[in-house]
């Protein structure tokens, strides 16, 4: 949500600077840790994040209750008699009241037992072990690539606002931003797999079968995720940089010292703009996670997204529950990380002074 991003950024900036000096001189390691503004911030955010995750898990559980399809019926088989289904229901504990089942699921989840798939009967933790690395690799590569693409583009565009490079970057990014990632994926397949035959259209090759085959199978999915994100970041960063260049007093100071334009961009303007970008990136992790679901589907990648979609279609409650929770937790922790990064990067917070 591009419009939604600027306000939390401003909010966070003020929130971070609120963590003023503790007042007393800390002594010893423990006191210093307790007095560390960064750690205090982490602690305070965790106080919000942990209850949030519990509420999220409860909401996911409620949603699963509403999912169509009867897990006991699925486990017992479609031609099972009513008594057999009832027996399976009891055996799975589905006849117990909702809050009891939630608590036992929670207890299991905290001790590393996430239940098992009603469809395949395999443990959810085993499934995660197979699927999570694929998604992590894809999302991680897309994330890095989007930053690597967007930074130079934004800096080059902001070097001369309204110039040829700027206009080119802005027009291209505006157009590419309008291509949804699943359309981007199909267009890439059309050109590089169907047309040129350079890359595989679908499928995933594990890293164990060689780095190059693995990379080849990753190129198109990663590109379809990274390109729209890169356009989004580049446009935001360019806008923020130009604003800094036009309005900030420290830029005028740097200019009057005779600092070169690139140096000003990189060392002065970008350092300040990076905070806004950081917030945007954190908020966008949710979109990235959502994107992996549909991209994995198109490229038949055996990742978390495919696992969740298969689960949703076949009412595999235990699997969907875990996947949805992990996706939500990933987004929550990404934002926590952004808050902490703020504190670490912002000297006012790092040194505990305004």
């Amino acid at each position: 949500m591009s419009g939604a991003t600027t306000t939390p950024a401003a909010e966070k900036r003020t929130r971070v600077t609120e963590n003023g000096p503790a007042g007393e001189q800390p002594e010893g390691l423990r006191a210093r840790l307790a007095g560390s503004p960064v750690l205090r911030l982490v602690g305070r955010r965790l106080m919000i994040v942990i209850p949030l995750l519990f509420v999220v898990s409860a909401l996911v559980f409620l949603l699963m209750e509403a999912l169509p399809g009867d897990p006991a019926q699925i486990r017992a088989g479609m031609d099972a008699s009513e008594e057999e289904v009832e027996a399976v229901r009891q055996q799975m504990g589905l006849d117990r009241p909702g809050h009891e089942r939630y608590l036992s699921w929670l207890g299991g989840a905290l001790t590393g037992d996430l239940g098992s798939s009603v469809v395949s009967g395999r443990a959810v933790t085993t499934l995660l072990g197979e699927r999570l690395p694929v998604t992590l690799q894809m999302a991680g590569m897309a994330f890095v690539l989007s930053i690597v693409i967007s930074l130079p583009l934004a800096l080059a565009a902001a070097r001369r606002p309204g110039g040829l490079v700027d206009r080119f970057v802005m027009v291209c990014s505006m157009t590419l931003l309008a291509v949804p990632n699943f359309v981007m994926a199909l267009l890439l397949v059309l050109v590089f797999a169907v047309g040129l035959g350079m890359l595989p259209a679908i499928g995933f090759v594990p890293l164990a079968e060689g780095v190059w085959p693995n990379m080849r199978s990753m190129i198109l999915p990663v590109l379809s995720l990274a390109v729209p994100m890169a356009c989004f970041y580049a446009r935001f960063l360019r806008g923020d940089l130009v604003e800094q260049l036009n309005a900030a007093a420290y830029i005028d100071t740097a200019r009057s010292k005779g600092t070169g334009p690139w140096r000003i961009l990189w060392l002065h303007a970008f350092r300040n703009s990076s905070f806004g970008l950081l917030t945007l990136v954190g908020l966008n992790i949710g979109a990235l996670v959502g994107g992996t679901v549909i991209i994995e589907r198109i490229f038949a990648m055996p990742g978390m997204g495919t696992l969740m979609l298969e689960g949703v279609m076949s009412s595999d409650v235990a699997v969907v529950q875990t996947c949805v929770f992990i996706f939500a937790a990933a987004a929550v922790f990404a934002n926590l990380l952004v808050d902490v990064m703020y504190a670490v990067l912002d000297p006012r917070v790092r040194y505990g002074s305004h």
Binding site: M1, S2, G3, A4, T7, P8, E11, L52, V55, V56, L59, L63, A66, L67, P68, G162, M174, T175, L177, A178, V179, P180, F182, V183, L186, L187, V189, L190, V194, E243, I285, G286, A287, V289, G290, G291, V293, I294, R297, I298, M308, L309, V312, M313, V320, V324, F327, A328, A330, A331, V332
Partner: protein, 294 residues
């Protein structure tokens, strides 16, 4: 906002050229608004009036014997799909579904989310933090993941797609509405209204709402683009608008299966999506810049 920093404040600008440059950029911005606005208007007219005015066949119930006709075939300017349905007709009817979903979801988002955000900011204190924490829970979910699960729970249909998509539109709008209301509440005219003893509903309806509506409608333009894309993604996954009713998303999915033989069938709905999203984005961004005077 626009009053404090007008775009043409050339006297403060460092370079002598800035005056004409600013005028040029504000002219270009207006031009962008006009062009993208016209495209949006054209899309709306084509999708809603087209089926009644244009001589196009029905989007469903085509004859399989007519399947896979190439573009330019008599009676089928863009050809036919695998089921023998006219592609142009499906594009137009699909656009109708997409735009309907987009408009209704945004209206729901603005009405509910906008109200919740404004009230939350106005009440402040504990009520505000409870409401915002509740929204945080919804915002914690990656939007597509939440929408997928909701869509499956509700079952695939047009009204259910709208409901599922509203689940991520409402909290997003609420946040923006809250931030905008907070800004308005720090303004002197609001304190004046409070001091003069206006009741809370009067302050909200006469002072707060008129001042946050421009920002919210601008966001709704960008929101249109997001909703149209998400609806496309949902229908592409088979969880949105169910076939045979056309939607750009389910058209792309159908075409994907015979992509190497008939790539054009993927391209048409993709281009339709691109043009729609692009014009809403351009419209939203340039109106926002116009309003904030950047």
């Amino acid at each position: 906002m626009a009053v404090t920093s007008p775009p043409g404040s050339a006297t403060l600008s460092p370079a002598p050229l800035a005056g004409s440059a600013t005028r040029w950029s504000s002219f270009r911005r207006r031009l962008t608004i006009w062009i993208s606005g016209s495209v949006v208007a054209l899309l709306v007219i084509t999708c809603y009036l087209g089926p009644f005015v244009l001589p196009i066949p029905s989007p469903v119930g085509g004859n399989v014997l007519d399947s896979g006709l190439s573009p330019g075939s008599p009676g089928h300017p863009l050809g036919t799909d695998v089921n023998g349905n006219d592609v142009l007709s499906r594009l137009i009817h699909g656009g109708r579904s997409s735009l309907t979903v987009g408009v209704v979801v945004n209206i729901i988002g603005l009405a509910i989310g906008g109200t919740v955000g404004a009230i939350s900011a106005y009440l402040g204190g504990r009520a505000d933090s409870i409401i915002m924490r509740a929204l945080d829970v919804l915002i914690a979910f990656p939007s597509l993941v939440l929408v997928i699960v909701l869509a499956q729970i509700l079952g695939p249909s047009l009204p259910n797609t709208i409901l599922a998509l509203s689940a991520f539109s409402i909290p997003a709008v609420a946040r923006i509405s809250r931030a905008a209301t907070l800004k308005v509440m720090s303004m002197p005219y609001l304190q004046a209204a409070e001091l003069s003893g206006s009741p809370w509903w009067r302050i909200l309806s006469r002072h707060v709402v008129p001042n946050i509506v421009p920002q919210l409608t601008t966001f709704a333009m960008l929101g249109m683009a997001i909703v149209v894309v998400t609806e496309g993604a949902l229908s592409f996954l088979g969880l949105g608008i169910p076939p045979p009713r056309p939607s750009w998303g389910n058209m792309i999915f159908e075409a994907q299966q015979s992509m190497s033989a008939t790539p054009l069938l993927v391209l048409w709905p993709s281009i339709a999506l691109l043009v729609t999203v692009l014009s809403f984005n351009l419209l939203g961004e340039s109106i926002r810049d116009e309003v904030t005077g950047r």
